[in-house]
Amino acid sequence: MRRTLKRADGSIAILVFVTDDPKLIQRDTAAWLAGEPGGSVVGDDLPLPATRRWRNQWTHSGGVVGVDMAKARVQRMVELRAERDSRLAASDASILRAQEQNDVPAVNDLKTKRQALRDLPVTMQAAVDAITDPDALAAYAPVWPL
């Protein structure tokens, strides 16, 4: 049996029972509730989202365990910013090399693309805010200039 529990902050914990002993089920549930002030039991064997992609953003609303899209958008933006940062870092060597070689067109091209990378979060935020489906949010990526 799988028991869905809700924390005070709205996030979800799942108790997966290995035993059928009702006393142990009751004991483990009580132990969890004691450690989570404001927590509550939502239900047993409720359907869960198909993937764990947004596991930390699961919530229970309207009788269904689903993804808190506001929190998922925040997570996606963190992931996208991290990707942006790594692309910026990866281009550091390229621009240094171009500068050393006095390759002005290449330097200008890289400068333009790196600035586009720095400006990207504004564009990404608008796009991410418009997404209402968890799968679409997971699939979203901007057109990376670099």
Partner: protein, 116 residues
């Protein structure tokens, strides 16, 4: 190796409980175990093993983890959430530094020993 004095696991230790868990999809499932009543899926890479009968916290407790992305996979205990006699909370990651980020692994394990 072979020197009884240098053994990490005391020769007279007994297994108080263990759990081998697959958290690669859905909810964590117990692949093998002893003295386990339930698993609590707290979030990505965050699991609590609840014991049927009390496990002494003074005994050695070993965690490990493995998965699909190389040798960095680990499972470890968090110092701020120490094991109790009834449960062990542990974290898994695909890097050698858990603080970088947690991850669900294809297998992780907790082994609690009782020495006497």
């Amino acid at each position: 190796m072979g020197n009884r004095r240098n053994r990490i696991v005391p020769s007279r230790a007994r297994v108080a409980g263990f759990a081998v868990i697959d958290a690669s999809s859905g909810t964590p499932t117990l692949q093998r175990g002893k003295n386990v009543s339930s698993l609590t899926d707290v979030g990505v890479g965050l699991t609590t093993v609840n014991w049927v009968t009390e496990v002494p916290t003074a005994g050695p407790l070993i965690t490990n983890g493995g998965g699909t992305s190389g040798s960095g996979n680990i499972g470890c205990l968090r110092g701020t959430t120490p094991p109790t006699v009834s449960a062990v909370y542990f974290e898994t990651s695909t890097t050698t530094n858990v603080s970088v980020g947690f991850a669900d692994l294809a297998w992780s394990c907790v082994l609690a020993l009782r020495s006497y």
